[in-house]
Amino acid sequence: MYATLEGLRRFDIPHKFEVVSIISLYAQWIREGRLKVDPAWNTEGLKFSVQDPCKLVRQSLGDPVADDLRFVIKSVVGEENFIDVWPNKSNNYCCGGGGGALQAGFVDNRRQHGKTKFDQLQDTGADVVITPCHNCHTQVKDICDHFGGKWQTTHLWGWIVKALQR
């Protein structure tokens, strides 16, 4: 998101389209009733937490998209099954995988960076951590495995489909 938005801006690249996040669209569609979801499937009360991607939230669209993200998750898994982190949204901790860290090697450093995120997610006690960014996904999964976390790291879309009413 940031790469495209900021790239278009910084290099002043001509374009005719607008850039939107799929997260905002999910939220919009749920609000409009075009995307019907029901959290009833979550009978076991699986607990969810979330990673706000720096590039999407702090660096691009700010708190509104983070609020949309929460709205979508809560609609899909049930309000009471969502456990937020602190700090969150625009002030969120980076997972430590961004900025090319995942590709750069320096695995110990990357994990040391990610330890803050690990502790934060571990403290929520959530069963599932939703990562709406691939970098975050890889890193969150890695620190979970490395530091012995118990959660499952997943994308958002699968859960939406689970809750989907057609």
């Binding site: 998101m1 669209l25 320096f106």
Partner: protein
């Protein structure tokens, strides 16, 4: 034993270079308050933190800056800038320093991801493979999930309202992860398309420190979307 810096004649070559490239750098404004270091998850790694990073620049200790691998621990996340009283974007400066590394001294994989991206996508699979994988998976769904027999994954559909990108990880490693997204879009009923030319949602050229590469990849991407005539670019992450 602490170091001794002889500043009888102060030289700050690196700092000046960065300031030239980033007019809003404001390195000199730093109050050394430590707020950035307090909030940075990378503080302490390689015995560095954002405040020290700035301080070395100010005191002209260029070697330390050019050698530290901390620049690959800084994720350019801008948490420092978010609260810094002077609004200094240390990540932005780190980005410049990354670009100052000779290409051959950079972490191999990172540079490779960017180079591949320039050629099309960060994993380097041929675009045809992407088209094939999409088609293949779609067919499988049609066969195995009758309630989704009308599911679509349009490719290069000129005039579609929405352009959708796809992180290269899915078609290469976990293709089934693409399906939920299609289902959602189908359920909502929007008019969307992939592009077989430029479909990768990631962009690693943002992280290598070479603005030309970043510019190139963004430009190629923009052209693709405009060529298709889509009015909305949906970013999937």
């Amino acid at each position: 034993m602490s170091e001794n810096y002889n500043l009888s004649k102060l030289r700050t070559r690196l700092k000046k270079q960065i300031e030239q490239a980033v007019p809003e750098a404001r390195i000199d404004y730093c109050l050394t308050c430590g707020l950035c270091a307090s909030g940075c998850p990378a503080s302490g790694i390689e015995d560095m933190d954002p405040r020290k990073f700035l301080r070395y620049l100010v005191l002209g200790q260029d070697d330390i800056i050019l050698q530290t691998n901390w620049i690959y621990s800084c994720s350019l996340c801008q948490r420092c800038k978010y609260a810094c009283p002077m609004g200094i974007d240390v990540g932005r400066l780190v980005y410049e320093v990354k670009g100052m590394r000779p290409v051959e001294d950079r972490p191999k994989n990172l540079q490779k991801s960017c180079d591949l991206q320039k050629a099309g996508n960060s994993t380097g699979i041929p675009n045809d493979d992407f088209v094939w994988v999409v088609g293949d998976i779609l067919e499988e769904i049609h066969e195995t999930e009758p309630e989704w027999s009308d599911l679509k994954a349009p490719m290069d559909k000129v005039g579609a309202k929405f352009y959708l990108n796809q992180n290269a990880k899915e078609p290469t490693v976990e293709p089934e992860e693409m399906v939920p997204l299609w289902k959602i879009l189908h359920a909502v009923g929007i008019d969307w398309t992939y592009s077989s030319k430029w479909w990768d949602g990631a962009n690693y050229c943002l992280f290598t420190g070479d603005p030309e590469d970043w510019e190139l990849t963004t430009r190629l991407q923009a052209e693709t979307v405009d060529d298709l005539g889509c009015t909305t670019y949906i970013n999937t992450e």
